[in-house]
């Protein structure tokens, strides 16, 4: 299966390791992975700020970059949700809307893809880590991503997942919201930190880098430099690597 990796602008800029981890996981699941060099962003920063053209123009770019793949995968529920919204932006252009709908239907959030659409199951990994999991909003409520990452993490030998209170409550990121209304975003992130700390986990794990940066930023400001904040792709890749060394 020929998979195009939509790496997302945040992973590209802030934490490329998540991108490499994603490639490793996709290859371990039997995919041939390509990374179109001309990809940029799904458009949400502008679109959610009220600039509709950001959505339509980047939708066309997405079509140009990814239409030829069997499947598209992103390590983000948020970006995939945006991609699923693309067809609706072209109500007056049925031909484009149809092509975008077909492409959106084969565009998947990473954990959902690995569990439900990949050619092979991931080999079992191994990692000693106590984690709690934060459900990112778009993945959870738009795409139904809830059990998928938990199942993948649970399959890693040695990983212990303890659920935090209010795991499904927004962390306060919300893109530009986190800057425009930073005081509210900070309080929401703070609640998340308190709930995560109460589990005694070594790491807060999630599936969207926006949330992770927000949570990590607040954790560090609170003076917590111990708790790791990880994308599940990093955790799974780390597990695969440790598994291989045995």
């Amino acid at each position: 299966m020929n998979v195009g990796l939509f790496v997302t602008c945040l992973v590209d800029a802030l934490r490329p390791r998540i991108g490499f981890a994603t490639v490793e996981l996709l290859e371990a699941a039997g995919c041939v992975v390509e990374v179109p060099a001309s990809q940029t962003c799904c458009g949400q920063p502008g679109f959610n700020s009220g600039d509709r053209a950001s959505g339509t123009e980047l939708a066309m770019a997405f079509l140009r970059d990814f239409e030829h793949f069997d499947a598209v995968v992103a390590p983000s529920g948020s970006c995939i949700s945006m991609i699923r919204d693309y067809p609706g932006l072209f109500a007056g252009q049925p031909e484009v809307a149809g092509r975008l709908a077909a492409l959106a239907a084969r565009s998947h959030e990473l954990s959902d893809f690995l569990l439900n659409h990949a050619p092979q199951r991931l080999p079992a990994g191994k990692l000693q880590l106590r984690v709690c999991y934060h459900d990112s909003c778009s993945g959870l409520r738009t795409l139904g991503v809830k059990q998928q990452p938990r199942e993948l993490i649970g399959a890693v030998q040695g990983v212990e997942l303890s659920e935090m209170r209010e795991a499904e409550v927004c962390c306060g990121f919300g893109g530009a919201f986190s800057v425009k209304l930073g005081v509210i975003a900070t309080r929401m992130a703070d609640n998340k930190c308190v709930n995560a700390a109460a589990t005694g986990a070594d790491a807060v794990v999630g599936g969207d880098l926006g949330c992770l940066v927000n949570i990590e930023g607040r954790l560090r400001r609170r003076g917590d430099h111990q708790t790791r904040v990880l994308h599940f792709a990093e955790l799974l890749a780390e597990g695969l690597d440790s598994g291989h060394h045995d």
Partner: protein, 470 residues
């Protein structure tokens, strides 16, 4: 009601710093959300009930003029007088005229958010009438001189101690923390006022076109007394509240209390029709309904049309993490939370509530519980688009969006720009790999650090890896 929705940011900051309010918000926290979840679990197919309620509301709004006229005719046939108010001020004038014509001195009120929109109490009081709010929460707030902070639990922001102090001050009783005793005190205060009132003013959860009735759901029983004891009853409600039939009411009532308080049904469901029958011992001799537009008709057929489906359950605010952290007063007008973030700009003008549609992470926790399936995040985005296209947002925000789009489109330019940005951020970061301050992004760095980029961008690294033979 005097609006402070144009100062949302400073309102919110003030509420976040208010330790007392924060404790009160936390105390009840997800109480309603938890109860809703349980109530929804007790029915077979709540999603089907939501579909039905949404469909009923959608169909009514398609032909709102027809159903309103049908309601008017049926109500008039039962002796109810129907008044049409284009604005809140018109509604106040109409109620005052009714009061004057009937020689009214004392008014008792049950909960009406529409009367909060119009500021009815102030108008009646300045005309020399005494007005008593009889919903317990509203009664507390009347003593405190505060507006509601929630549409179904108006005093949710107040603690037991605050209520105790208020009652001690106004009732001249020793302070007590005993809730049944506090309730008893309120009852003793209110009972004589019910009996002495010349006019009862209520809201109306629904108008039933088939029978010309006003339907009210309450839990305290005060609504029944307000609507049946005084010789004049006035119901004041929005024009969007009409339902075709009693069957439709039954269908909508299956979702309203469950979504609101997590009750299968409210303690009281009153269907008020016409005036007192000859020879009957209770019911008003005069019955009026004031149908208030106050901006609603303008929404019909607009991009915000779907917001008119709202049945005022409060589920969106009960599930909104923003509302839960700042409380309702921060929103600065009658309707807080996600629905308020749409209705306030819609009714008061977007320029008077510019930050409200931005006051959401678009997490969609509201949308998945709305009993009439209002796409709340989408409607907030509609308002954001209007803000952007009308140039209402601050210039630096508009500029940064334009600049971002200009950079994000051409891949090469984006690659260069992101590469440069990443290097700059790396250079600015401390040894701990964190950015503690970022020029232009103090909204972020005031309360959070920014983890610095790990190194070169993924795309740069990937390109180099591809060049190298593996």
């Amino acid at each position: 009601m005097h609006a402070t929705s144009d100062r949302f940011k400073s309102n919110a900051r003030e509420r976040l710093d208010d330790a007392g309010l924060q404790a009160n918000l936390r105390r009840f926290g997800g109480g309603f959300a938890e109860r809703r979840r349980e109530a929804v679990g007790r029915v077979d197919d709540f999603e089907a009930l939501r579909d039905r309620a949404a469909a009923i509301r959608t169909e009514v709004l398609e032909n709102l003029d027809h159903w309103l006229l049908a309601f008017e005719a049926a109500a008039q046939a039962r002796g109810t007088r129907v008044h049409w108010a284009e604005t809140g001020a018109d509604a106040n004038r109409i109620v005052l005229e009714i009061a004057r014509a009937a020689g009214v001195q004392r008014v008792v009120k049950s909960k009406s958010m529409v009367s909060e929109e119009s500021g009815l109490n102030e108008v009646l009081e300045s005309a020399g009438l005494t007005v008593t709010e009889t919903d317990l929460g509203e009664y507390i707030l009347q003593l405190a001189g505060e507006p509601p902070s929630h549409i179904i639990a108006p005093a949710i922001h107040k603690s037991r101690d605050e209520v105790s102090a208020l009652f001690a001050e106004h009732h001249h009783t020793p302070p007590t923390r005993d809730i049944p005793v506090l309730c008893e005190q309120a009852r003793e205060q209110l009972r004589p006022r019910f009996l002495a009132a010349d006019m009862g003013i209520s809201g109306g959860n629904f108008l039933i076109a088939e029978t010309g009735s006003v339907a009210i759901v309450t839990n305290e029983g005060n609504g029944r007394m307000v609507t049946t004891l005084p010789r004049v009853h006035v119901a004041i409600t929005g024009i969007e509240k009409v339902l075709p039939s009693l069957d439709d009411l039954a269908a909508v009532l299956r979702v309203l209390p469950r979504s609101a308080t997590g009750q299968d049904i409210t303690n009281y469901v009153s269907v008020l029709t016409g005036t007192r029958d000859p020879g009957a011992s209770d019911g008003p001799q005069e019955n009026h309904v004031v149908l208030v537009d106050n901006g609603r008709a303008r929404l019909l057929g607009s991009a915000l049309h779907e917001a008119l489906r709202c049945i005022r359950c409060g589920a969106c605010m009960n599930h909104c993490p923003v509302y839960q952290n700042i409380g309702g007063h921060a929103y600065g007008w009658v309707y807080p939370g996600p629905i308020g973030a749409i209705l306030t700009p819609a009714y008061l003008g977007l320029e008077n509530a510019l930050d409200l549609p931005q006051a959401s992470t678009l997490c969609a926790a509201c949308e998945v519980v709305c009993p009439v399936r209002i796409p709340l995040p989408e409607l907030m985005r509609v308002l954001r688009e209007e803000s952007f296209s009308r140039g209402l947002r601050p210039w630096h925000e508009r500029l940064s969006i334009r600049l971002w789009r200009w950079l994000a489109l051409p891949p090469r330019l984006y690659g260069v720009a992101s590469g440069v940005a990443v290097r700059m951020l790396r250079a600015l970061a401390g040894r701990d790999g964190l950015l503690h301050r970022l020029p232009g992004l103090d909204g972020w760095t005031e309360g959070r650090d920014m983890p610095a980029p790990q190194g070169r961008t993924f795309r740069e690294q990937w390109r180099q890896r591809a060049r190298r033979p593996s």
